[in-house]
């Protein structure tokens, strides 16, 4: 016998199911509740940084839009600081929820362009949004990132890990000048790179 480590095990994940909006975005589920839904407040006017809009859809392995997905976004402010860090822009939540149109699957996120943030070994991470996707049929929430096509991504330490290099494209939006398009493919030829972080 040996000594016993007393670490606990993480609670296992279960799918968010088809009614996740009832819990996280009741207005989208058709339910008005006391208090406000979190993650839908947008960015207050006084927060510095270029305004951007990201639209897109999530597709399943058969190419059908995932119309019941819920996405959470976590990002730095324009100066590259996350909320809670010293120097972060006051009033900026850095966190948003996105629910698509239940018929078309099309989503839209209005936010600001994040700055680059410090990464491993003092290298900068190119500006990006961290995304977390849950839906019916997804057993454990999926983590990924969205990078910007008009920023310098060449030295990004995460993108440069992706093999083969052509898959790096799956994390880079298209568009320019504050209007971006980002589609996520759960499976298939264009499967998005998902992260185990």
């Amino acid at each position: 016998m040996v000594q016993v480590l007393d670490d606990l095990k993480e609670t296992p994940s279960q799918t968010a199911g088809p009614y996740v909006h009832l819990g996280l975005a009741p207005a989208a589920a058709g339910v008005a509740r006391p208090g406000r839904d979190l993650g839908f407040g947008g960015v207050p006017g006084g927060v510095p940084g270029p305004r951007i809009r990201v639209t897109g859809r999530v597709f399943d392995g058969m190419g059908a839009p995932v119309t019941d997905v819920l996405i959470e976004v976590w990002q730095a402010d324009a100066g590259g600081f996350y909320p809670g860090q010293p120097g972060a822009a006051p009033g900026f939540a850095g966190w948003a929820r996105v629910v698509p149109d239940f018929d078309t699957g099309l989503f839209a996120l209005d936010t600001i362009l994040p700055g680059a943030v410090p990464g491993p070994g003092g290298r900068l991470l190119a500006p990006h949004l961290s995304l977390w996707l849950v839906a019916r049929g997804i057993n454990t929430g999926l983590q990924t990132r969205m990078y910007f096509p008009d920023r310098d991504n060449a030295a990004d330490p995460v993108l440069s890990l992706i093999e083969p290099p052509r898959r790096r494209r799956t994390l880079i939006a298209t568009g320019a000048d504050g209007a971006y398009r980002f589609d996520i493919h759960l499976q298939g030829d264009r499967e998005t790179v998902f992260l185990d972080v």
Binding site: G23, Q85, L195
Partner: protein, 237 residues
């Protein structure tokens, strides 16, 4: 600081064919393993200003002209991390079917009736020791389109934040003694029976409120923190 690597063999894999919807919605390529960066090790924080005072009482928070129908219960427990540290001031969001097994969601068409006094959603923050509690009615089992005769065991969906975006977790809590648990393909997507047991809340009869409410206990564990155990760092671990 970084997080313990997530033990993917403890969680359900992405592809679990008995749960049919997972087939077309499961990534097939390996996840890209990444040491957490500041983007994953930070995360949103919430406070009492973000939720409404009655959010943890699902018996009252959508009541119109009386209490909802159903077995009155309280669910309580603690949120800890894998290092056994309490996770204070973290947001838990809850959603569930009513006592008849029907969700108040525009896309639920089950024939069981909507309960006009029950919304089936709520929120609660853990206290300084990681404790939380909410009051509700026990949800009913409900049928779903998977096999021709598939039924979900009674369950409550829970979403938990923790303090890092990579601790984000959604799970489902089941009730001790429910014979549908062992027959459920979503439950059985979890390969390890010990992990399934971690989702089944025992009846906590000692805490029941006499003449009022049964109580179930459900503890939640989020990913632990890995510190540098040897290196002498001026800023500490």
């Amino acid at each position: 600081m970084t997080l313990y690597q997530r033990d993917r063999s403890w969680h359900p894999p992405a592809l679990t064919p008995d749960y049919k919807t997972s087939v077309a919605r499961s990534p097939r390529l390996p996840l890209l393993s990444l040491e957490g960066t500041v983007s994953e090790l930070t995360g949103p924080r919430f406070g009492h200003g973000d939720i409404a005072p009655g959010d943890a009482d699902l018996i009252a928070n959508h009541a119109k002209d009386g209490d909802p129908i159903g077995e009155r219960i309280i669910v309580h427990g603690r949120v800890l991390d894998e290092n056994r540290r309490p996770v204070p001031q973290t947001l838990i969001e809850i959603w569930q079917a009513n006592a008849g097994g029907r969700y108040r969601h525009r896309k639920d068409g089950y024939l069981a009736p909507i309960d006009p006094n029950f919304g089936g959603c709520g929120r609660v923050l853990t206290d300084d020791q990681g404790h939380y509690a909410f009051r509700t009615v026990k949800p009913g089992a409900y049928p779903w389109r998977n096999g021709v005769n598939s039924w979900r065991p009674a369950h409550i969906h829970l979403s938990v934040f923790g303090h890092a975006f990579a601790q984000r977790l959604i799970t489902q809590m089941y009730f001790e003694g429910d014979t549908l648990i062992a027959r459920c393909p979503i439950v059985n997507a979890i390969p390890d029976p010990r992990a399934i047991a971690a989702l089944i809340a025992p009846l906590d009869l000692n805490q029941a409120v006499p003449l009022d409410c049964l109580v179930y206990r459900f503890d939640i564990v989020l990913r632990g923190r890995r510190s540098t155990v040897f290196e002498n760092r001026p800023e500490g671990n």
